[in-house]
Symmetry: C2
Subunit: 200 residues, 2 copies
């Protein structure tokens, strides 16, 4: 597939990777194992540490993506933008377990990651490649809360929206991140306000 957006994709230094999720966007979670792959939407994802960067994300037991994550030990988070609102809602509504190609059914294309088998999602504005942290306590939280903890191995962002470690205030409206309210309604990231530095 021709990747028009790839010319804007830039590596993000790992100590800055947390900023890709810091403002609370909805993400697409993708995974692959043994020749199968899948993608789902998740509103419950956030940074967990700065350097080395970690993230945490809630992934329901009923999802096919979780099966692939548990088998492969890794997943990708891709941060969708306004033009992908319909596709993101579809990824959060349809199950990939009985589909030959959920990506196509959702209108999503994908490309190869740098460090993991999971594919990254075309047209998104940021990407994090993650390896699940395994251990007895982590396993408990996966079972009790569907909560996965992972280390970020690689990160990229579209330079039109994120450059020099910061989200750009002048990014195009169609490339703004999505923040799921529920039922397919999303807030689009709006204007940037800069708070005053507090007196010490």
């Amino acid at each position: 597939m021709t990747d028009i957006a790839s010319s804007y994709r830039r590596g993000v230094p790992l100590p800055q990777a947390y900023r890709l999720l810091n403002h609370g966007p909805t993400v697409l979670v993708s995974a692959a194992h043994g020749g199968r792959r899948n993608v789902m939407a998740a509103a419950w994802a956030m940074p967990l540490d700065f350097d080395p960067p970690k993230v945490t994300v809630v992934i329901d037991k009923n999802t096919f993506t979780r099966t692939l994550i548990e088998a492969s030990g890794s997943f990708a988070l891709s941060v969708p933008c306004r033009v992908l609102a319909d596709a993101t809602y579809a990824a959060g509504s349809l199950s990939g377990a009985e589909r030959s190609d959920k990506f196509a059914d959702c209108g999503l294309a994908h490309f190869t990651a740098q460090r993991i088998e999971a594919p990254l999602i075309e047209g998104c504005v940021a990407w994090l490649e993650c390896r699940v942290i395994a251990g007895p306590h982590e396993h408990h939280h996966q079972q009790a809360y569907d909560l996965f903890v992972a280390e970020v191995l690689a990160a990229q962002a579209d330079e039109r929206v994120f450059a020099d470690g910061r989200w750009r205030a002048d990014s195009p409206p169609e490339l703004r991140t999505l923040h799921h309210q529920g039922g397919g309604a999303f807030f689009v990231a709006g204007e940037t306000v800069q708070a005053k530095k507090p007196a010490a």
Copy 2:
């Protein structure tokens, strides 16, 4: 203190409480114990379950708020809005350990919660009262990741921005939620887009 905003505050049924955080806003975390109280800002907070509602939040070991949470077993999350951008940044920058009143120093007022000792923050648009879930695995995640899991005991929201279980698309600009990018720069929640329901 006169509470002008209180006339707009409404109880939120617990099964809808997750929606107050679903779109990824930055929150103010407050706690109280033994006559002392404090407040801090946190960008790393999210829902963890629907009903009974749970949340998870990262609270650094170096914060005075954490000391109060560990002593009391509870905390409140208040969701600030645009008019509180400076105060939110101050709450995330200043330490309350050596201040007689960090609330005043940040320009924040507070009022009494329904179920817990922690105060709720005036001028915010949503409030969740939370009880920490204790256990050996939860304790591990507090120590290893600064990650707290808690059950939501009570929730309220300002009816001008959240009504009938939904964020309102027509809420006033100054009452829109904040989404921290870093360094005191926040995205303000922008317009609402409704995604198309996917074909089954």
